[in-house]
């Protein structure tokens, strides 16, 4: 114990600096963990308040988890969630790094800033607004794309009732919104690379491409791994706004737009069974946790220094 306090005093400045973050995590991440108990209960209100409701509700074991697996929807939504997120992670990584490298190589810094800001902007838009952007392109009778098709004499497409286009549309929209932000993260670490490395390479006669391949990418790899690990941890979480707002909740598209989050939302918004929503949330978290541990383990095997922990 004495050693603990000594340690505390020695690092007091550092600890003080992490205090706000730690408090935030305690209240918003650790304290609510107690609530996962609701996943195993049939939640019923009690007049004595929230805690009484939890403690007096009946235990139902794993019953609340059943609805997730009761139909073959479970397969569709798990497949959609995983495949979309994989596509987002892989394509997002390639595009963001490529953009970051391109931006860093631009000579005119004013133009670089303009491109950067332009690409960054979509990140700040809410999904509702992005949904309407997409609608202005894809609307059946007034959408831009159908009008352009009309000029070429092609038949208008019923975008919101034909599932086959949506995997591409969703991936495109998601990348459009996120690539700008991620490329800034990579750009920042490119800026941090020691310039003497490039100078040395240039003296040795390395081309631009060789510099990128042999200096920029290897120097970026730790941050790439961290970003990817974090993304893998959330692979079971679909971006609700993307899958709900952009396809305008159109029923005929569900085979390609239904993901765990939207499935749970639709199933529970009317029934209001809090136990089941909690169960779904817990299931997502546990799978996400396992995925982070596993992928970190894999990274550790390959390159010990790059692993998160």
């Amino acid at each position: 114990m004495a050693a603990f306090f000594k340690n505390l005093i020695r690092n007091k400045v550092m600890l003080f600096m992490v205090l706000p973050g730690a408090i935030w995590f305690f209240f918003f991440s650790y304290l609510p963990l107690v609530g996962t108990i609701v996943a195993f209960k049939q939640y019923r209100f009690n007049r004595e308040g929230f805690w009484a409701s939890i403690s007096k509700s009946e235990w139902v074991g794993w019953d609340n988890f059943k609805f997730l697996f009761s139909t073959n929807d479970a397969y569709t939504i798990t497949r959609n969630t995983l495949l979309y997120n994989l596509a987002f992670i892989i394509l997002g990584l390639i595009l963001s790094v490529a953009m970051a490298v391109l931006l860093s190589e631009l000579v005119g810094k004013t133009m670089a800033k303009i491109y950067q800001t332009g690409m960054f902007l979509p990140y700040f838009l809410s999904w509702v607004i992005v949904g309407y952007f997409a609608f202005s392109f894809l609307s059946m009778d007034r959408g831009m794309i159908n009008q352009i098709l009309g000029w070429f004499g092609a038949e208008p497409v019923q975008w919101y009732s034909d599932p086959k286009y949506w995997p591409y549309i969703l991936v495109f929209v998601s990348l459009w919104k996120s690539v700008g932000y991620n490329s800034v993260v990579y750009l920042a670490s490119i800026m941090g690379i020691d310039k003497s490395l490039y100078e040395a390479a240039m003296i040795d006669g390395a081309s631009k491409w060789q510099q990128i391949k042999n200096i920029t990418i290897p120097m970026l790899s730790p941050i790439i791994i961290i970003m990817t690990l974090l993304a893998v941890g959330r692979i079971f979480y679909a971006d609700f706004g993307l899958f709900y707002q952009v396809p305008r909740d159109s029923g005929t598209l569900y085979s390609v737009t239904n993901v765990i989050d939207t499935y749970v939302y639709r199933g529970l918004k009317t029934t209001g069974e809090i136990g089941m929503s909690t169960a779904a949330g817990l299931y997502q978290s546990v799978v996400g946790f396992v995925l982070v541990i596993v992928s970190n383990f894999v990274v550790r095997k390959i390159d010990k220094d790059s692993a998160l922990f």
Partner: protein, 496 residues
């Protein structure tokens, strides 16, 4: 490693300490609660009732409630705080408020928003049988008994329904400007098929007008009453054997969906109907010809006044008293209310006292409205700061009339109510607890197929069998079987 262990145990200790502090707070609250509810003498400090209701939050709510409180303090020694939650958020926010034990006394609930039956079963509301006998005599005397009877859940009352139109009747609404312009005859219209010539005429003559306006919640009318709104389990209105059927498998629905698809393909329906949330922009612009709506006496006047152009309607169905219509607007007392007796006294006053009811509805006389004569009122410019949904707040038949309402408005309502026919399953409420897993799955299937089928967006020839199969796979048969068992028991108990 040992360092890590220690900091972990430290965190654990903190967590325990914090939980203790929290539970201590909870205990303190409870003490205050019991001392508050134990006393009701008039010399006591007035209690404050917290009242959650639906509607766009109004600027002057607090100002009006201050006046209301003055009045209620005199009458029943209670003051009122009203909290409004906007239409779209009500269900979700109340779900959270109730689950987390937010202090509240009275709340709005209905078949549509923040489901009355389900939440009554989950224990969100206080059972009112005794309170109603003790403090609610006025309510029992004024409100149409069918309302109180129809809002019983498992034999008990959990809320006070608003006295208003009792049956629900579907009508076709017409934009009268267009009807007059092309001299169309709407007198022979009733069934879904009968509107075709009108739609056709408008489509030809007014290409920029949406002939048949609808949003994604549209469902063609078939003579069935649904066990749960918008799930495909229903009982035929003229049933004798009380058999619950899958509405999608009935010939009536198949016929209606085929007609809808024909209309959709002919361009009578907006191409995006299945994903359209609201038709209010069409109503504002007037670029629509007809739609379907639920009516009440003098509804044409209300619609015309609110849109700014004449709207006329003709019946599309009989007037039927169903659970949905009876449970359309209810005030319940929260299960965690600290002052249930006072809340009941307040609800009693709200439903019997014209002064209080009109103050809650229209605001302060001279500020928000002025009286034209002893029955009619006119809104003042300030009135837009306190524009409340009348249907949701209690007995409608106490309200002042709008300038162009006839004097006998409420008599017309009473007549309309008396003429309504009871649905065979009126006051049967399905308890879905046993099939909760299947319900969640069925709900998802419904979301997938419902809107596109009902609006005619997809061809029922191919999609209807798909939808039926998907519902079956999600366990609809099991849900129907459970509902049938309950309905049979209910039928036996009620000698139907």
């Amino acid at each position: 490693m040992s360092k890590g262990k220690k900091s972990f145990s430290f965190a654990l200790a903190m967590l325990t300490a914090f939980a203790l502090v929290l539970s201590a707070c909870g205990g303190g609250n409870k003490d205050a609660e019991s001392s508050g509810s134990g006393s009701s003498g008039s010399s006591e400090k007035p209690v404050n009732l917290i009242w959650y209701t639906i509607g766009t939050p109004q600027k002057d709510v607090d100002k009006v409630m201050a006046e209301v409180s003055k009045y209620t303090q005199e009458k029943i020694n209670a003051t009122v705080t009203m909290k409004m939650i906007d239409w779209g958020d009500y269900q979700q926010k109340m779900q959270v408020n109730v689950a987390s034990g937010e202090p509240m006394d009275i709340m709005f609930t209905s078949a549509g928003g923040f489901d009355y039956v389900q939440n009554a079963r989950k224990g969100a509301f206080m059972e009112l049988d005794d309170l109603l006998d003790k403090y609610g005599q006025g309510i029992k005397d004024t409100i149409d008994p069918a309302f109180l009877e129809g809002s019983k859940v498992d034999g008990h009352n959990y809320g006070i329904p608003a006295n208003k139109e009792l049956p629900q009747q579907e009508v076709w609404r017409f934009n009268q400007n267009l009807v007059d312009k092309y001299k169309l005859d709407t007198s022979n219209v009733r069934s879904l098929d009968s509107i075709e010539p009108l739609l056709k005429a408008i489509k030809e003559k007014e290409p920029n007008v949406t002939p048949f306006a609808m949003d994604k919640n549209y469902v063609p009318y078939v003579p069935y009453d649904y066990i749960i709104q918008n799930l495909p389990m229903a009982v035929k209105l003229d049933t004798t054997d009380y058999k619950i059927v899958d509405i999608l498998e009935t010939p009536e629905m198949k016929q209606a969906l085929t007609t809808m698809h024909k209309y959709y393909q002919a361009g009578y329906v907006a191409p995006e109907a299945a994903t359209t949330g609201s038709t209010s922009d069409l109503m504002t612009s007037g670029n629509w010809f007809m739609d379907r709506a639920q009516t009440q006496p003098l509804a044409d006047n209300t619609w015309s006044a609110s849109y700014g152009y004449p709207v006329k309607s003709t019946p599309a169905s009989d007037a039927i008293i169903t659970n949905t219509s009876v449970q359309g607007s209810i005030m319940a007392i929260s299960a965690n209310s600290e002052h249930p007796e006072k809340a009941m006294e307040f609800l009693n006053l709200l439903n019997t006292d014209p002064v209080l009811r009109n103050m809650v509805d229209s605001g302060i006389e001279g500020t928000h409205y002025k009286k034209v004569d002893d029955k009619h009122i006119e809104n003042l410019p300030e009135g837009k700061n306190y524009d409340m949904p009348s249907y949701s707040l209690g007995n409608n038949m106490l309200l002042y009339l709008n300038p162009n309402d006839p004097d006998d408005k409420w008599e017309q309502f009473k007549k309309f109510n008396a003429e309504g026919k009871d649905s065979p399953i009126l006051s049967f409420n399905f308890d879905s607890t046993k099939v909760a897993t299947e319900m969640a799955a069925v709900q998802n299937v419904k979301e997938q197929f419902w809107a596109s089928l009902m609006t005619g967006t997809v061809d029922p020839e191919t999609y209807l069998p798909k939808a039926i199969a998907a519902f079956k796979q999600a366990g609809l048969d099991k849900v129907i079987a459970e509902a049938q068992t309950q309905l049979d028991a209910w039928k036996a108990a009620n000698n139907k």
